[in-house]
């Protein structure tokens, strides 16, 4: 070991360009890892707390409110508990695979953060094939889940693993095709490129560019929910059917890793849909350059959190689909529709060239329609609140 280190030191002193690059790359990797971990873990943790609070409010309960003010550090307590618990490995399990599986799931989720930006300059790597990379790296999650299900040597876990394999493989197609429509319209496959093709105002967002992209947004979001194992597509871990699916046998930190991945994955869903459809980090040009990075970061995280909230909302509202119905939704509806979207977007681009007055008019009209739908929704909610006998408390701090 010593000769190696000595020679390394000597070469570094001599200014070997290859080695400098290596040191630089390693340093960057560690730095990025630390920064990302500092973002991902707290975000996932806080999301878990917020989800539990939202669920509680939806179910006329109080939710966690004991640890810290309003229970805000409940997630730290949960994490500590998981670290302190015994890491149990079943006697009959395939021990090596059983140990690796949670890491694969975690890497699959964590890897997506390489291309997910936080601002115009805050991104680890703006890959030319960013969206493609996103789709590819998330597949690693399904490998991890199958591995977890198989290695547990538990029939329920195996069923969960098989379900997740079928689900992720199927739903990658509509989600990929929906992003393809975006790529077609934006003319770029890099995430930053897609965002740069949009503006800060809603009528410049891709989701409002034409009806096909609007449909793509919903198809992508649905498919992403399915890939992220969220209700109504949470069948791989269907609690009431498969006990807990692939993670039945896991405990301690490995179990926590699965859930960290799940909640961080929520952010990924929100972030990708924000980047591809909702204008990403674009902020109004009036904002002074000094505060721009912060504003961009806030705008992007806010948009991503909107997606996270949608997913939480769906989870605590819908029942769960059956396996065959889930496949039906994917292959009979989402896949043909997303093909239609690609063709539709292509035809649209020829009929209404970008920047033409008609195209701008269409997006403005779509924004107005969206606002009208939002107003209708608010009215309906107000009506429901009035008819509910006043039993609902709107105070978030109970």
């Amino acid at each position: 070991m010593k000769p190696l280190l000595d020679s390394l030191a000597a070469r570094l002193a001599a200014g070997d360009p290859n080695l400098t690059v290596l040191v630089y790359a390693t340093g960057m990797l560690v730095f990025c890892g630390v920064v990302l971990m500092g973002f991902v873990a707290p975000y996932a943790g806080v999301t878990s707390f917020i989800e539990r609070r939202i669920a509680a409010r939806m179910q006329s309960r109080v939710g966690p409110n004991r640890v810290g003010p309003q229970g805000i550090i409940q997630w730290v307590a949960d994490g500590l508990k998981c670290i302190l618990k015994e890491d149990l490995i079943p006697e009959e399990a395939d021990k090596a695979l059983f140990r690796i599986a949670p890491y694969l799931v975690f890497i699959g989720m964590f890897g997506t953060f390489v291309v997910i930006p936080f601002g115009s300059s805050l991104v680890i790597s703006d890959l030319d094939v960013g969206l493609f990379y996103l789709l590819a790296i998330t597949s690693l999650v399904s490998v991890g889940l199958i591995m977890a299900g198989w290695a547990s040597n538990n029939k329920w876990s195996l069923l969960g693993g098989m379900r997740s394999a079928a689900q992720i493989v199927s739903y990658e197609i509509p989600s990929g095709l929906s992003l393809l429509a975006v790529v077609l319209f934006a003319g770029s496959m890099s995430v930053q490129g897609v965002i740069r093709s949009q503006g800060w105002a809603p009528h410049t967002w891709l989701v409002f560019q034409n009806p096909f992209l609007f449909a793509s947004y919903f198809i992508f979001f649905t498919a992403a929910l399915a890939e992220g194992n969220r209700t109504p597509f949470d069948i791989p871990e269907a609690e009431s059917e498969l006990v807990a699916g692939y993670n039945t046998e896991y405990s301690g930190m490995r179990f926590a890793l699965f859930f960290l991945a799940e909640w961080a994955n929520l952010y990924v869903i929100g972030a990708v849909s924000a980047a591809a459809f909702l204008g990403g980090w674009q902020v109004p040009p009036a904002i002074p350059p000094a505060v721009r990075p912060v504003a961009e970061l806030l705008v992007f995280v806010a948009k991503a959190t909107f997606g996270v909230f949608l997913a939480i909302w769906a989870r605590w509202t819908f029942p769960r689909l059956r396996v065959d119905q889930m496949m039906e939704v994917c292959w009979k509806y989402l896949v043909p529709l997303s093909f239609l979207n690609i063709v539709g977007t292509a035809v649209w681009m020829i009929l209404f060239p970008k920047g033409a007055l008609t195209a701008v008019a269409v997006s403005v009209v779509m924004v107005l329609v969206a606002l009208a739908v939002l107003a209708l929704f608010v009215r309906k909610v107000a009506m429901n609140l009035r008819s509910s006998d006043g039993a609902i408390s709107l105070n978030p701090f109970v």
Binding site: K155, M162, F318, P319, L321, R322
Partner: protein, 388 residues
């Protein structure tokens, strides 16, 4: 539901040839989140398709029938609470009615009203558990806390009248243990009024949900003839379109004086007798129970203060009696044989969950595992009632 039998599946397996597949023996329960207690099913599956489902009962057997032969007639009443602890008022009622008929005891009119009031309240709370748990088993967690919230209000009312929240021991031989406290009827009335508004809200939340309907329609259809063959009772029987309700067809207590409808399964979203019908019938029955409660409150005999007949040691003459009542899980029947002493020489309890458990074996063939969860929930089996 695909039309698959064991034979067609095994043919498909052998003809494929290239890929070797085998059946999986899957043990579901007794520790499983959706088996509503300690039930166990031994499943033989092809992937997720169930080829064979054997219910294995007996994990909650507590020899209640034998205990009934060792206790005095009055002493056994608290044990009947434990026969079906989700609806123990109704169990009390069935047993007490049997003893009263055997010994020829007259029950005061006020007691009859109180009995029907608490039984119908208990029916609502039992059905709330049934529909809430069913929604949860299908994957929608939110309706369940709402159902439990309403059930808590019923528990509060029942606690006021008898001091207990689950195992009431309220209905005694010859009447009830306590009179209603002052203002209790008004509070029941207030509950009914607010609860009747909750039911449409609950329906908006889950009953009409597209995914929920799709999960339940045409799943595990029980035709009327099959329901009768397996002697299904109560809401499970009525969901198959058989118009039979003991409260109306073999009336007891004050039910002949009350007006209420008997909801039947109409195949609203699919076939008559599917899981969705069984769900909807229970929701409708809660509405009917509200009607009954309103009438009971309106007709309540305030001028007759007597709520318990003077009963010392019950010593019925030798003979036997078979009394059945309409409990939330269908007919609950007690068969008592008296040898002229203070203890019954034979107690036999017939419960709805037991026959409902038997039918799972036939209707679950060809279903997915997720469907079996829906079937168990829709039949509303409660483990202690199966085993006793």
């Amino acid at each position: 539901m695909p039309d698959v039998t064991t034979e067609t599946l095994s043919v498909a397996r052998t003809e494929g040839g290239l890929v070797k597949t085998e059946e999986m023996l899957l043990n579901m329960g007794p520790h499983h989140p959706s088996t509503h207690g300690v039930l166990r099913f031994i499943l033989k599956t092809d992937g997720e398709m169930i080829l064979e489902c054997k219910p294995d009962v007996g994990y909650l057997h507590r020899s209640i029938e034998k205990i009934g032969e060792l206790m005095t007639y009055q002493g056994f009443v608290p044990y009947t609470d434990r026969v079906d602890y989700v609806a123990s008022m109704n169990s009390n009622l069935a047993y007490c009615m049997a003893v009263e008929r055997l010994a020829g005891i007259e029950v005061p009119r006020r007691a009859e009203f109180l009995r029907v009031l608490v039984c119908e309240l208990n029916r609502i709370s039992s059905h709330l558990i049934a529909v809430g748990a069913m929604a949860m088993d299908i994957g929608a967690v939110t309706p369940f806390p709402y159902a439990l919230r309403e059930r808590e209000r019923i528990n509060d009312l029942l606690e006021e009248i008898c001091g207990a929240r689950l195992t009431y021991n309220y209905i005694w031989i010859g009447g009830v243990s306590f009179d209603a406290p002052p203002g209790w009827l008004e509070r029941v009335q207030a509950f009914v009024e607010s609860y009747e508004k909750i039911i449409p809200e609950f329906n908006r939340l889950i009953t009409g949900n597209k995914i929920f309907v799709e999960r339940l329609r045409d799943v595990a259809v029980i035709p009327a003839a099959m329901a009768i063959d397996y002697s299904l009772v109560g809401p499970n029987l009525r969901a198959s379109g058989v118009d039979w309700d003991l409260r109306r067809d073999e009336p007891y207590s004050i039910y002949p004086e009350l007006k209420f409808d008997v909801p039947l399964g109409h195949g609203e979203r699919g076939t008559v007798g599917d899981c969705y019908d069984r769900f909807v019938v229970r929701v409708r029955e809660m509405e009917e129970s509200c009607k009954i409660l309103r009438q009971c409150i309106a007709m309540f005999p305030h001028d007759q203060p007597d709520f318990r007949a003077k009963v010392k040691n019950v010593k019925p003459p030798p003979g036997d009696v078979f009394v059945r009542t309409e409990a939330p899980r269908g007919e609950q029947a007690y068969y008592l044989v008296s040898d002229g002493t203070t203890k019954a020489s034979r107690v036999k309890i017939r419960t709805g969950s037991f026959s409902a458990m038997a039918i799972t074996e036939e209707i679950s063939i060809g279903c997915m595992i997720a469907d079996l969860i829906a079937i168990i929930a829709s039949l509303d089996v409660v483990a202690p009632e199966i085993d006793r």
